[in-house]
Amino acid sequence: MLRVEKLSTFYGNIQALRDVTIRVRRGSITTIIGANGAGKTTLLRTISGLNKARHGLIIFEDQDITNTPPNKIVKMGISHAPQGRQVFGDMTVAENLELGRYSRRFANRAEYKQDIEMVYEVFPILAERSGQLAGTLSGGEQQMLAVGRALMSRPKLLLLDEPSMGLAPKVIQSIFKTLFRLHEQGLSILLVEQDAKIALETADYGYVMRTGKVALGGDAGELLENEEVKKIYLG
């Protein structure tokens, strides 16, 4: 479904990604783990078009999408829930979700109703809070809103950046349970996560990134058993 070939991205003169090659299979949850600054977030931002690639290719469903602007990428079916949630704090929950379907704003009202009901079913708390300003939600609720907003564009592939960041273990559990349910309904997910344990337990495939490069890749189950992964990332 998604192929990233020898991708290199720079911030000015600093190289953040070095020849990164990964695959995301249709219907899978693929995770990328690694320490802070390994380039995980940059990889997602380059796929979704926020950062420009200097070398390499990004192929989505047999189409070259390298350096396509983000507003076009989301129309093609890749939705990115960015790191640190990034909800529109001065708008209500409902308005955030409405903006989530901006790329589909010409679709009919009936589809909009379906989409929003789907999100409210996945995250019932958002329905209760629909009139509340997004900035006043708790961290976990904002994370759910960020994921819900990303789902509103009806993505085929969901890019998720650190959904566990700053959340209590119980909240993390519930968010990952929801992700797994979405995956069972056919959504493909590329998940970037620092919490290697829960990421590898949820995912089918995994990659380990280190200093801008892919250091390891394979079945998530195998990576869980890998001595090096155990030592460095699973403590």
């Binding site: 409405e98 903006l99 901006y102």
Partner: protein
């Protein structure tokens, strides 16, 4: 702060009315008229600022061009007023949109300061072209519905004032509805608050900027046209009008649409009262004295919020 300044302002109005009676009322009504125009210009500043963080120093020139084009169409060519109004607004709007595409858009990766300096250059250019086309003498434009003043408690109101009030109210309502009720308008607000998150849901920041410039140019042109019969039109009126509008936007809180209206009306009234009380040469100083005081004391303005969103 809001309540404090509202109290001071109301007190000033009451004092003016009780000391000066109908003359005071006249000042206030005239002040509200010119203040409405400042409000429209201030809204132009706010729309562009809140969508792109750019201060458009050519905003006043849009008003100047609106007035001058109206002169050409209505007074010279004899085009009926409504049609002349629409034509003038369309031309200025296209000019604003064209400037955005040709000069602002290519600078989207440059700093905001660069774009602001380009707008200053653009304003000088527009003024020079206007002087070349229309010359430097002020021109008179006929009022939309006659000049017979309407008496009200001893104050005289020119009928054009009603056009000014009505149009300002309509424009404020439309801008409010656009930014708060349509998905494109909300998207523009979102793009200003968080460009990355906005582009990830499919909002194009480049389209936002184009729409903002289009709206601002239309607001500016309309303001220049409806005030022209009361003041006068000339190639040089844009600079002062732009600066007053900017002062009004700062006073109300840059980026806030209600703030632009409140700022404009307060500035218009204060200025007119000052022109009555002090030698009228000091009138313009009032606007800039207010600008300086506001910037020093509470830079976010009366209704501004730290996030600078349109609301």
């Amino acid at each position: 702060m809001i309540y404090g300044s509202a109290t001071v302002f109301t007190l000033l109005l009451v004092v003016t009315l009780s000391i000066k009676g109908s003359t005071g009322l006249q000042w206030i009504v005239s002040g509200l008229t010119v203040g409405s125009i400042y409000a429209l210009v201030a809204m132009g500043f706010s729309v562009i600022y809140s969508s792109t963080r750019v201060i458009n120093f050519a905003q006043g020139e849009f008003s100047m061009l609106g007035g001058m084009l109206m002169y050409t169409f209505a007074s010279k060519a004899g085009v009926p007023v409504p049609l002349a109004f629409i034509l003038s607004v369309i031309i200025v709007t296209l000019l604003g949109a064209g400037f955005e595409r040709l000069a602002v858009h290519p600078l989207r990766y440059s700093s905001v300061i660069t774009v602001i300096i380009v707008t200053i250059g653009f304003s000088i250019f527009l003024r020079a072209v206007a002087k070349w086309i229309w010359g430097s003498d002020p021109v008179k434009i006929a009022s939309f519905s006659g000049d017979k003043p309407i008496r009200f408690l001893g104050a005289a109101l020119v009928p054009q004032s009603f056009w000014v009030f009505g149009f300002t109210a309509l424009a404020v309502l439309l801008v409010f509805l656009f930014f708060n009720r349509t998905i494109v308008g909300k998207g523009m607000t979102a793009a200003a608050a968080n460009p990355d998150a906005a582009s990830l849901v499919g909002i194009s920041t480049s389209t936002s900027s184009l729409i903002a410039w289009t709206i601002a140019a239309a607001l500016g042109a309309a303001a220049g046209i409806i005030i022209a019969p009361i003041k006068f039109a000339a190639y040089s009126v844009g600079t002062m009008l732009g600066l007053k509008g900017f002062a009004a936007a700062i006073l109300g809180g840059l980026g806030s649409a209600p703030g632009a209206v409140v700022g404009g009306l307060i500035l218009g009234v204060l200025e007119t009262i000052a022109a009555g009380v002090f030698p009228s040469g000091y009138k313009d100083a009032v606007a800039f004295l207010i600008l300086i005081l506001v910037l020093l004391a509470w830079p976010q303005g009366l209704l501004g919020r730290r996030q600078d969103v349109m609301a």
